[in-house]
């Protein structure tokens, strides 16, 4: 069962997302701030993080930077209600898999999650393949 961490300061959003994702068979954890999110990822490793950009305290982009510092391979989808292209590009640069605009629609969220999972899977496969082929590759240390 895939574990998804939802980070948003709005409880209603967390709740509704939790609802639809539970329906779809995901295990969810919830965080209301960036700090909380960073605390959680110290103990557990979510398969995916849904991260809101505009939050009190450390904002989404900063949280994303810190997550990537701890877990570079972590899949993160950014959510924003006022996202501009600039912030979207910036988020992608920082390592976000996708950028979805609020108000969120069920199909879009699920599609984005599926895509992200697929990418994660591909990355994993890639890594496994690389590991398998490693003896054949010259030592790149």
């Amino acid at each position: 069962m895939k574990n998804i961490l939802i980070v948003d300061d709005e409880q209603s959003i967390r709740q509704s997302l939790d609802g639809i994702l539970s329906d779809e068979g995901f295990q969810t954890s919830l965080a209301s701030t960036g700090e909380e999110c960073l605390e959680i990822i110290q103990t557990e490793t979510p398969d995916l993080i849904l991260l809101d950009i505009w939050m009190p305290g450390i904002d989404g982009l900063e949280t994303l930077t810190r997550i990537k510092r701890i877990l570079p391979a972590q899949l993160v989808i950014m959510m924003s209600g006022h996202g501009t292209i600039e912030t979207a590009v910036k988020a992608t640069h920082l390592g976000a898999v996708d950028f979805i605009e609020k108000p969120l629609s069920l199909e879009k969220v699920l599609l984005s999650i599926q895509n992200a999972m697929k990418i994660g899977q591909l990355v994993e496969e890639n890594k496994a393949l690389k590991r398998k082929n490693r003896p054949r590759l010259p030592d790149d240390r």
Partner: protein, 726 residues
């Protein structure tokens, strides 16, 4: 007479000095006349003739010398002056002295002296003659007595003695002697008071002569005294021709009157001799006097000229130096020759010259400083004028009487007025009366303000538009804190104000987008979740659940679109200018609208000289589209839309106008026209013109709206034709 000659001579010489000398000499003549009574006219004049003629010579010589040696006019004058003073004095002195000498000499040779001498001599002689007569008389008497009484007889000798003694006492005779014919001294009686003196010897000549019958008198000096002798023979009674003896009567004159007489006579003789040469003496004295006088005059003249030279030479040098100073040469320095007043004068002159030089240097440097500071002031004033003319803020100054003194170019432009028409006028007459209370309130605030300055934001309607000014009033005070007037500085905040409002709106839009979209998420997700989970459970006839969830979802979408458009405005990206031609963009926009609106007549008049400039193509296209949208909405079904571009090469400015003949915009709406969510249209977001305004402001341009004639609206956009990327 002599003075007349002198005067004539001097008058003939016809020099001013001569005239002066003439006057002087006349005055001395008066003085001379005062002395005249005590001297002989002829003698005096003979004595003074020499002096006058000599004087003439002297004057002639001196005038020649002075003109030769004095050289300069000043020294000649000074010499003459000095000389005339001396000549005046010596003239007087010489004549007085000559007169005095003459009178003195005359006094010596006075006739009274001569007469006194003669008379005294006569007295002495008379006395001697008298004494001789007496002596002879007494001797006669005695002789006759002796003869008569025959006292010469031997027997009568005592009687004779007695007689002689008696007569001697009786007549107070000196010595009485009787000698016999045989030269024998018979009797000698002497006055006891007389000193013992030598007596007549019996054999002496007088006795012998007496015995020869001669009766005579004789004066014999005895030491200092004189003996006056009367010698008378004694005749015989028998023969009167026979001489029997001699009587000698001596008078004793104690001091030799004879000697005295001699002295007197000698004196008289001497006097007479001297008198005969009186004229010569007088002359020689006068000559000596005149010689001395001449020497003194020469010495005085020499001394005078020497002194004069001592005065005139430095004075001449002073005069030359003064001329040079007057012509501007201040480097002159005179030599000090003496320590007297002239030396002091020269020192003072040198000091004055040095002071002058110093002060000229100071004045020159001060002048230079003044000039440079003047230049600096001028430069600064020019600079200030240029600054004042080019500063974007409007500057108006009012003097203490309320008259306008300065109105700079920006003020003219901002207030749309002509400075020449208002300068010098009272501001109360220039400002429309309905704004006066506001201005007076401001001035009152300024008056009570501690810092002498007041800021206030003011909305001022000028022409058809309303401008927002930040007005700054400052009291002008001079160095002594005296009120000089007021300076008003105002900035056109209209654009800034608009930009601030825009920025505020952008922030508001962002927040609203966030605040609306956030709650929309759970609504949407919940509705969609419901549909996903429960839609299959309802039969096909039951549309309520389907419709309602769909409605929720649709309305969320609608809301989302609205918020997105709002966000578009709010999160308008920064301009990305590139080299473009505005005409091309206009053509593009026209191509979009012209085919779609067949009933609207689009008329373009594009300036073909329009250069390529830097602007954000997409944004400017958006502006044109928005303006077209606005115009189309205004004209309705049918109408006309004019679009034009004009390039002003001088101002480097492109003007884009979009004019319609539609319904127009009421004046009260014009100022709010570019604010977000202000719309006169029933449909539309109210963001169209706000977006236009924002884009134009971002391009450093201006947009304004005017009424079109006869009806409709003109939007005028002015864009700087910047060929650069700035």
């Amino acid at each position: 007479m002599a003075f007349n000659i002198l005067c004539n001579y001097l008058t003939d010489s016809s020099s001013p000095t001569g005239a002066k000398a003439c006057r002087v000499n006349l005055s001395t003549a008066h003085q001379q006349q005062y002395y005249r009574p005590c001297c002989h006219q002829s003698e005096y004049s003979s004595g003074s003739t020499f002096s006058v003629s000599d004087f003439q010579k002297c004057i002639q010589t001196d005038s020649g010398t002075s003109s030769r040696c004095a050289g300069g006019k000043a020294s000649k004058q000074a010499g003459w002056g000095f000389y005339s003073t001396f000549s005046r004095t010596y003239d007087a002195a010489v004549f007085v002295s000559a007169g005095f000498i003459s009178s003195s000499i005359d006094n010596w040779f006075n006739n009274q002296v001569e007469r006194a001498l003669d008379e005294s001599l006569e007295v002495a002689q008379t006395y001697y003659r008298n004494s001789e007569a007496n002596a002879l008389y007494y001797a006669d008497q005695l002789s006759q007595r002796i003869q008569k009484n025959k006292l010469l007889n031997e027997d009568n000798l005592p009687q004779l003695r007695e007689l002689i003694i008696n007569k001697q006492e009786e007549y107070n005779l000196g010595i009485v002697e009787v000698f016999s014919a045989t030269h024998e001294e018979l009797v000698r009686v002497a006055n006891p008071k007389l000193p013992i003196i030598e007596i007549t010897a019996a054999t002496s000549d007088p006795v012998r002569e007496g015995l020869q019958g001669i009766r005579f008198s004789q004066i014999t000096p005895v030491g200092q005294a004189d003996l006056i002798r009367g010698i008378v023979p004694i005749l015989s009674n028998w023969n009167p021709k026979d001489i029997v003896g001699v009587v000698v009567v001596n008078y004793y004159v104690p001091y030799s009157l004879i000697n005295k007489m001699k002295e007197i006579s000698e004196s008289v003789d001497q006097y007479k001799i001297t008198r005969s040469i009186k004229g010569q003496i007088q002359q020689s004295y006068v000559i000596v006097l005149l010689l001395i006088a001449l020497i003194i005059i020469f010495l005085a003249t020499w001394f005078g000229f020497h002194l004069a030279r001592g005065i005139t030479v430095p004075i001449q040098e002073l005069a030359t130096a003064t001329t040079r100073i007057a012509s501007g040469d201040l480097d002159i320095q005179l030599q000090t020759r003496s320590t007297d007043e002239i030396g002091t004068l020269v020192n003072a002159f040198n000091k004055m010259t040095a002071d002058l030089r110093q002060s000229r240097i100071e004045v020159n440097s001060a002048n230079q400083e003044l000039q440079s500071s003047n230049l600096e002031l001028d430069r600064r004033r020019n600079y200030m004028e240029i600054v004042l003319a080019n500063v974007t803020a409007g500057v108006i100054s009012i003097d203490r009487n309320g008259h306008l003194t300065t109105v700079n170019k920006s003020a003219e432009n901002l207030l749309m007025m002509n400075a020449d028409k208002v300068i010098g006028k009272d501001f109360r007459t220039v400002i429309p009366s309905r704004y006066l209370p506001t201005i007076m309130n401001l001035l009152k605030k300024l008056f009570y303000s501690e810092r002498g300055t007041v800021h206030q934001q003011m909305s001022v309607p000028i022409g058809n538009e309303k401008y927002t000014f930040m007005v700054n009033l400052t009291t002008l005070r001079d160095n002594n804190n005296n009120f000089m007037g007021t300076v008003v500085v105002f900035d056109d905040l209209t654009q800034l104000y608009k930009a601030q409002r825009m920025a505020a709106w952008r922030e508001v839009a962002r927040r609203i987008a966030h605040e609306i979209k956030n709650p929309l998420t759970p609504i949407q997700l919940s509705a969609q979740r419901l549909r996903r989970r429960y839609l299959e459970r309802f039969s096909d006839d039951d549309h309520v659940f389907d419709d309602c969830t769909k409605m929720i979802s649709d309305q969320v979408d609608e809301l989302k679109n609205l918020v997105n458009e709002f966000s578009n405005f709010a999160r308008m990206p920064a301009t990305k200018p590139s080299a473009n031609n505005l005409n091309a963009v206009i053509e593009e926009a026209l191509a979009l609208y012209q085919p779609a609106h067949k009933n609207i007549n689009f008329i373009k008049s594009l300036d073909l000289k329009l250069p390529d400039t830097y602007f954000d193509r997409e944004q400017i296209k958006r502006v044109i589209i928005n303006l077209f949208e606005n115009a189309i909405a205004a004209v309705g079904e049918k109408g006309r839309i004019d679009v034009s571009s004009i390039y002003n090469q001088e101002l480097k400015m492109i003007t884009l106008t979009v004019a319609d003949d539609g319904c127009g915009i009421p004046p009260e709406d014009k100022t709010r026209l570019f604010e977000p969510y202000f719309s006169t249209k029933k449909t539309g977001t109210g963001l169209g013109l706000a977006i236009v305004s924002t884009i134009i402001t971002d391009h450093n341009g201006y947009i304004r709206v005017r009424d079109n004639s006869p009806e409709g609206t003109i939007f005028i956009i002015e864009l700087p034709a910047t060929p650069s990327n700035s």
